[in-house]
Each structure stands twice: as C-alpha cells, then as structure tokens.
C-alpha cells in the first residue's frame, strides 16, 4: 500500500497541473471565451471513459473465450470506472452547456447516445448484482457488456453523422476543424492526466474484485470445514 503513495502523488500533481494549464496556459477561445476551458476536463473525462470501456470490452471477450476469472474481474472493474468517467463527462458537459447554449441539456444525437451509454452500463452493474452464481453472472454480464459497447462507436460518430447542437469534432474532424497548437498541447496533457487518474482507480477497483474472490474461496473453505467437522464430532461422541 505504501508503494502506491508516490504514484498517487504523481497523478494528483498531473491533475493539478492539467487544471492550471487549462485555466492559465491555454489561450482564450474567440466565441466562448473562458467557459471553453471546461473542454479540457470534459474531453479528458470522455477519453478516460472510452479507454475504460474498451478495456471492459476486451475483458468481456476474454472471459467468453477463456473463462479465466481475471477477465471477469477486469471487466466489472473497467465498467465501473467507465461509468464514473462517463458521469464526470456528463456533469462537465451540462456545466458547459448552460453558459454556452443557454440550456442545461438537449436531446441531440451526441448527448442522447451518451446518456444511453451511461444507462446501459448502469444496467450492466445492476444485472451483475442480481445474479448470485459466479459463472453465470460473468457470462451474462460479458454478453451484455459486449452489447452495451456497440453504443460507444455511435457516441463517437454521432456528431460526424448527424447535425447536432454539440460542437463539431475538433480533433480528426476534417478540413475545417482544428485547434490552436497551445490548446492541443494542453488538451493532450489533460487527457494524459485523466487517463493516469483512471488507471490508478482501475487498479484499486481490480484489487477489490480479487479480494472478493479470495473472500468467496475462504467462505467455501470455512463452510466445507465446518460441514466435515460435524460428522467427525458425531462419530467421536458415538465412540
């Protein structure tokens, strides 16, 4: 646990510096001015979410192919961290929407597909809680996780495919898109900081899942021992 302190401090420093760079180093945007700076945390949250959900997708496929419990642990851990990142992305989006558009929320293609993605993965977590048998739980949630992931590319492509209230993509968005070079540097730094934060949280969450497995094994061992101790005591009493 002590060995984790330096890496946690490094990630906290990265996050603080990302915040500083977004507020004071990045240049002002011409139309939205300072409120556009939310963009650095907002896009960072989505980067963390897409990475976590891609890890979850790989883990879900891994479980279905190999049935190794480690894939299931990674799957649920990455989904939970993905939901947290998605929540952060939705909140920062709402806080950006109000001053930029004059409304907190609108049901355009980008926002709606995002909200559906969030609901799908919340459902994944609820589904897991409803199934007691570990193998069945892992298989059903892996299948559901793969199905839920189908919405992720749709979220990414939504403001490319349809006209939306959400701004057009600024990265990989075509000839008219693009950012000031300093903005790009600050954005990439913020994305790296958010990814580092997501990774340390994911490692912690995976550890929790591994401990759950250890607890299950110990519970079975304790139960087996108490069951086998029962008849032995009976025969000893008879003798």
């Amino acid at each position: 646990m002590k060995s984790r302190v330096p890496i946690t401090l490094v990630v906290a420093a990265l996050m603080f510096f990302a915040g500083y760079a977004a507020l004071f180093i990045a240049p002002d945007e011409r139309t939205m001015h300072e409120i556009q700076r939310i963009f650095y945390f907002h896009l960072g949250s989505w980067t963390a979410m897409f990475t976590a959900l891609t890890i979850a997708f790989v883990a879900n496929v891994g479980w279905l192919l190999t049935r190794k419990p480690e894939w299931d642990w990674l799957g649920v851990s990455a989904v939970e961290v993905g939901v947290v990142s998605c929540t952060s992305g939705l909140i920062t989006g709402v806080l950006w929407g109000k001053p930029a558009w004059g409304i907190w929320w609108t049901w355009d293609a980008r926002l709606t597909t995002c909200f559906i993605l969030w609901l799908l993965y919340i459902s994944y977590l609820i589904l897991r809680g409803l199934i007691d048998e570990p193998q069945r739980r892992a298989t059903l949630s892996a299948v559901f996780g793969i199905f839920a992931f189908l919405d992720a590319p749709l979220v990414y492509a939504s403001n490319r495919l349809w006209r939306t209230q959400h701004p057009a993509p600024v990265l990989f968005g075509g000839a008219d898109s693009g950012l000031d070079p300093t903005m790009v540097k600050v954005l990439l730094f913020s994305m790296c900081a958010m990814l580092a934060l997501m990774m340390i949280v994911l490692v912690d969450r995976y550890r929790l899942e591994r401990m759950r497995h250890e607890l299950d094994e110990l519970s079975v061992a304790a139960e087996t021992r108490s069951l086998s101790a029962g008849p032995a005591l009976t025969s000893a009493t008879k003798g």
Partner: protein, 46 residues
C-alpha cells in the same frame, strides 16, 4: 472572468466524482479485508 463559477464547478466536479468513487472503493476494500482476516482467523482456530 465571466462564468468562472461554471468553470470552477466543472473542475471540482471531475475531482469530486473520482474522489467519492475512490473513497467508496477504499471503504469496500477495508470491509473485505476485515472479513478476510476474520475468516482466516476462524480457519486457523478450527
């Protein structure tokens, strides 16, 4: 700075969401560790 409160709220929201989640993970880890220690002790005693 106009709209600074929105900007500040967004930055705090990112921190708060991850911080609260990390606290929840830490509390669940701590509960599990107690339970694992209790079961290990029980198995040793038996």
């Amino acid at each position: 700075m106009r709209n600074f409160h929105f900007l500040f709220a967004a930055w705090m929201a990112v921190w708060a969401v991850f911080f609260v989640y990390e606290l929840s993970v830490a509390s669940r880890v701590s509960r599990l560790r107690d339970e694992i220690d209790r079961l290990k002790q029980q198995l040793r005693e038996e």
